[in-house]
Symmetry: C2
Subunit: 348 residues, 2 copies
């Protein structure tokens, strides 16, 4: 069975489990996940035994070829009214929408139609990567990991962050990536101390930290990796901080396996850094799910409640940031397994 047709079946199974008759899916990422047709401005209605794409006329021919398992319906009136008509026609009495991803305006319309709020269904399906999507994610991560070996020797004194950014993109595209998976971060010297630095025209000087936080999109799947190193002769402080972050990241990776809480992985990373006296400089969470979105369910931090399941893909990325001096972050994307994890972004 086509993977997208299977995903609709999986959703239909969840509908039965949750005693829902149908679900309306409106976010482009989610409609693309279920149909393989990645496009804004169309809706899906999935019932226990049917699936309709409420879409403008100009999508119909393409939908028929790409997603023959959904029935295209061109709305006569509005999109929402057409969904309501389909529900009436097919006697779908309990139809759900996801309040986290629906706009307030449209949520009010669904409520007016008597639809119910039900979060997390598509998120939980999207969290587990299997078959082709695991393969695409692996490939996306492999491209990113290989790019590090290629770009590093080309980062020389005097080059700007933006020129490295662009070359990283090119290198990944040459290996088949569609593009970058987010606004890649290239930070030199003190710029490396800003976890969300915006890559600039800053030129690399001798004896500065270099931080590369980047990834690509391959067949819709995002990779995420960070490497930090010292350009020149590392200072004692850099060496010390680097080794703490490396130990922290290793501890985090060792903590990942099916059945553990996301928080326990954060704790494993955070404890190493706190014990070394740098707790206050680790100013973000340890990681996040990665897939069709660069940041998706679950989060790995001190608060987010979730259990890691085999097949989930997450990042492990502790860091220490010394403002005005340098920052160190080490990040890998990994696939959770029963007994541990598979590191997808291994570099030499």
């Amino acid at each position: 069975m086509n993977i997208h047709a299977k995903r609709i079946k999986d959703l239909q199974y969840l509908l039965k489990q949750r005693k829902l008759d149908a679900m309306v899916i409106t976010r482009a990422l989610d409609t693309g996940f279920f149909t393989g047709y990645h496009m804004d401005d169309y809706l899906l209605l999935v019932s226990r035994d049917g699936a309709w794409a409420v879409a403008p006329q100009m999508f119909v021919e393409d939908l028929k070829v790409r997603a023959p398992f959904v029935e295209p319906v061109v709305p006569a009136g509005g999109f929402e009214a057409t969904v309501q008509e389909l529900c009436k026609k097919h006697k779908l009495r309990k139809t759900a929408f996801d309040p986290e991803y629906e706009t307030y305006t449209r949520g009010l319309i669904w409520r007016k139609y008597g639809f119910t709020e039900q979060g997390g269904l598509t998120g939980s399906l999207r969290a587990i990567k299997e078959g082709e999507e695991a393969a695409d994610l692996r490939k996306s991560c492999r491209i990113a990991a290989r790019a590090f070996g290629l770009i590093k020797p080309r980062i020389k004194t005097g080059r700007t962050e933006l020129s490295v950014y662009r070359e990283l993109e090119d290198i990944m595209q040459d290996m088949g990536a569609k593009g970058p998976s987010f606004n890649l971060i290239v930070g030199f010297g003190p710029d490396s101390a800003l976890p969300h630095h915006i890559t600039s025209e800053r030129k690399l000087k001798d004896n500065e930290a270099v931080l590369l936080d980047y990834g690509c999109v391959y067949n819709h799947y995002c990779s995420d990796i960070t490497r930090t190193y010292f350009h020149g002769k590392p200072t004692e402080e850099f060496k010390k901080v680097y080794s703490i972050v490396a130990r922290s990241q290793k501890a985090g990776l060792a903590a990942v396996r099916g059945g553990v809480s996301a928080m326990s992985v954060d704790k494993a990373c955070r404890d190493v850094i706190s014990d070394a006296g740098y707790g206050q400089y680790f100013i973000h969470g340890t990681g996040h799910g990665v897939g069709l979105e660069i940041h998706e369910f679950p989060r790995l931090n001190t608060k987010f409640e979730a259990v890691l399941r085999p097949g989930m893909a997450v990042t492990v990325e502790p860091g220490i940031y010394l403002h005005g001096k340098f920052g160190v972050r080490i990040e890998d994307s990994v696939l959770v397994t029963k007994t541990g994890c598979e590191i997808l972004t291994k570099t030499a």
Copy 2:
């Protein structure tokens, strides 16, 4: 004054006009528009005489440098609760949120706090391009327009759509673009007849239509252009359809000026195509606003009510699609002026 500081002033003026005390802004595109700090996961609260960025600790240093005209506030509890506290502290009794861009879940929280719904404020500010942003948009469009002259001679029999896609991206990046402004469409032969074709591994044959719908992002501003031509000796049918679309697009461009309705531009394009007997093959609207987003306010179609104002940037892009054969679309991005428009994507 910094353009972002000015935009906040403009919003504060609108708040007074609408008798609002404050507005909470949550969409990344909008927070970036008002601060110049383009990043997910932080909120803005703008009152008539203040502006706060409710942001995680790791954004604070960067925000101070990039947006000194907003006061960073690190949330102790949740983001939403912190906004509510700020409202209480500063006696902001009537605070608005945009229901079109807020999630249903968060909209319910704002309503619980007593906030009111107010759509369109940021959209109306974003629609008018001025100063640096008009310059960035012009540059973005110029890069896209120049790319056509460079790519066209390289599109030869046997090349795949995706290889042209990638080269187009490279050409635009070499001219300073950050990346493509959307999933560029390269359609050969019958693929050109799908207005939202997904670029594929299809190889160009002799005597086929070539449609390129593409654009780039330059300093956050999106360009959008479509060119169609025949690779080889054009058929009589292609020549006929092309000349109708060209006349239609010319009529649309001639109809654009400050003060006219968006619908009247659509009508100008549509009448030419309908009069020529191809009305049923023009299966989409005539255009859309373009700026920080590739599709933004206003829309130019048969239903959307809006008046074009000098400074708005819109596309004019009629098309005729003969399924299984070929499609022709001609699109330019233009800046509305008092007396007409400035074509931003002029090609030789």
